[in-house]
């Protein structure tokens, strides 16, 4: 990026990224970063590490609640559809049964409950985790694609209130980062 005066303008940082030797040191670093009071952090590793999410203070996802609501709405909509069709719009005498024959509505209600819950689960998951994400500032870091193979990274994001580029970089080094990069947005 270049300003009209030709001098480079300081670009806003996404955060600082520290690289760690292995899963254990990443987990230890995650605990220390949290103890130091950083809140907006994230870790990147090639495999699931037990306790890492808890160490970074990840909150429980709201997705189950959304799925429950999706299921309830789906169920009510399905039953409502049957009720509207059979009782209000086209009341017909079928085999002498009452127009509001609830057993006949149950299969539809069951299926639309699952449909509502399943659609909410997929769309809610995408909405909450932000995928698909064609661009992410961390892609600017040369070695970052190695995070899916054999590298362990921990990022302190600039969105954190405590964030200061120099202090955060020093801190990451002090807790064992082998390499620290500032990540541009």
């Amino acid at each position: 990026m270049t300003s009209p005066h030709g001098a480079p303008e300081p670009s806003p940082l996404y955060g600082v990224l520290g690289e760690f030797a292995d899963a254990d040191s990443l987990l230890e670093a995650a605990h220390k970063v949290r103890e130091a009071g950083y809140v907006r952090t994230d870790a990147y590793a090639p495999m699931p590490i037990h306790g890492l999410a808890e160490a970074l203070g990840a909150k429980r996802t709201k997705l189950p609640l959304l799925v429950l609501l999706g299921g309830i709405i789906g169920g009510l909509a399905g039953y409502g559809l049957c009720y509207y069709c059979s009782v209000i719009a086209y009341p017909m005498n079928i085999g002498g049964r009452p127009v509001h024959s609830w057993p006949a509505f149950i299969p539809v209600t069951f299926e639309t409950t699952i449909l509502g819950a399943a659609i909410t689960a997929v769309l809610g998951m995408l909405a909450l985790n932000g995928l698909p994400m064609p661009y992410h500032p961390l892609f600017n870091v040369d070695d970052f694609n190695q995070a899916s193979q054999n590298r362990f990274f921990l990022c302190i994001e600039s969105a954190d209130k405590k964030f200061d580029e120099a202090l955060a970089s020093d801190f990451l080094r002090s807790i064992g980062a082998t390499h620290v990069t500032s990540v541009e947005n």
Binding site: P64, L68, G95, P103, A104, I106, P107, F110
Partner: protein, 398 residues
């Protein structure tokens, strides 16, 4: 999982409990016998079906777990193995039923068949005592062979992905398929034929689901109880209970799904020879039993187990599992008794039938529990050996 030695101190009181249940149950059973032989055998059938279902369901879950593999069933596997080993005992306890068919099933009474064209026709091809005996012999031969396979597997202690392990897997797959057929036909012979004019194609599936959910619930109830008595749970244990809770809630949903399917199809068809089954189970106060099944075999456990906390808390999970086991028994009463009362007592209700049901369930349960408790040290020791071997090999760990 649990060292066998941990089981020993607790083993004494279950044995006393079993002894007490046998004595009390035998006294109640004798009173029932004295009052009415039809009722005695009907109650005996309810009790036997309940305990036999728990043994068969345990075996089916073990065969299923052999196919799927994975750690999720490890905490309950020793209990399931001990319960599946009860099948030979249940075969012996089947003898009183086999010897008294006429007391229980109207199609076994030549005087009834003589005046009934449909029963005569059915007797020609399927529903006759010799056929009943031959089929029962086939079912028990299959089941006892499968139990033999499972205990061979327990002794062989094969590590995952070895040729021996894969051989047990293959046999389990074949066995599970044959078991599905055996459960279907045995449920027709032993339960559906109580009303020999009536038929339902989904009946076998319902019984299959009920046996599976009952056996899983019993093993979870016992595993959570043992885990609680040992104190603090590890993260892994909580995770395992979480998985088992999910499986149990899935099976409850399946149970409800097939129960409703049967009701729904009968309701839609609205044919006199089909609706009689439902009507018998909704009048004379059976409506309340039906509603209690809806509430406590499905609604309460299903919505309770939707919650993550309820699945991960052994006390709550154990409560739900115990509730399901109790309601499982109520289901057998609800399936069998209305038919028996309509046939053997011509619509008149034997005044004490629930007590005789409960008494004989306690008596057979005492025997069941005795063998179950005595088998546990062995199945736990074998589970320990498997766990140790897996840890060494590093296979299926984590």
């Amino acid at each position: 999982m649990t060292p066998a030695s941990n089981q020993q101190p607790a083993a004494r009181s279950p044995l006393q409990l079993a002894g007490g249940a046998i004595v009390v149950g035998a006294i109640v059973g004798a009173i029932g016998w004295n009052q009415n032989h039809h009722q005695f055998f009907a109650s005996y059938l309810v009790a036997w079906l309940f305990w036999n279902g728990l043994a068969l369901g345990s075996m089916a879950l073990l065969l299923l777990h052999n196919l799927t593999g994975g750690k999720w069933m490890e905490p309950v596997r020793p209990y399931l193995r001990a319960a599946a080993g009860l099948i030979p005992v249940m075969a012996i306890l089947f003898i009183p039923i086999a010897l008294n068919l006429k007391q229980i099933y109207e199609w076994a009474d030549p005087a009834v068949v003589e005046g009934d064209a449909m029963l005569q026709y059915k007797a020609k091809f399927y529903l006759n005592p010799s056929g009943f005996y031959i089929r029962a012999a086939i079912y028990f031969t299959l089941w006892i062979s499968l139990v033999g396979l499972l205990s061979w597997q327990g002794r062989a202690n094969a590590a995952p992905d070895t040729p021996a392990y894969n051989r047990f897997r293959r046999f389990s797959g074949i066995g599970l398929g044959l078991h599905g057929l055996a459960v279907t036909f045995s449920s027709i012979d032993w339960m559906m034929s109580l009303e020999p004019h009536w038929f339902s194609a989904i009946y076998g599936v319902i019984i299959f689901a009920a046996q599976g959910v009952g056996a899983l619930a019993l093993s979870i109830a016992l595993a959570t109880r043992a885990a609680r008595s040992r104190g603090e749970l590890s993260k892994l244990q909580i995770h395992e209970f979480h998985d088992l809770g999910k499986l149990m809630s899935g099976l409850i949903m399946f149970w409800m799904y097939v129960q409703f399917s049967q009701l729904f199809i009968i309701w839609y068809g609205n044919l006199p020879e089909e609706v009689v089954w439902v009507i018998r189970r909704l009048e004379h106060g059976w409506l309340w039993v039906a509603l209690s099944l809806l509430a406590f075999h499905w609604m309460v456990p299903f919505f309770g187990l939707l919650s993550r906390e309820w699945k991960r808390n052994p006390a709550r999970l154990g409560f739900m599992a115990t509730l399901i086991v109790v309601m499982e028994w109520v289901m057998y009463v609800w399936y069998v008794e209305p038919a028996v009362q309509a046939h053997a007592h011509h619509g008149e209700y034997h005044p004490f039938f629930p007590w005789i049901d409960a008494g004989l369930t306690a008596a057979i349960g005492g025997i069941w529990w005795l063998v179950f408790t005595l088998r546990q040290p062995k199945t736990f020791a074998q589970a320990e050996a498997v766990a140790a071997k897996n840890k060494k090999k590093g296979a299926r760990h984590g």
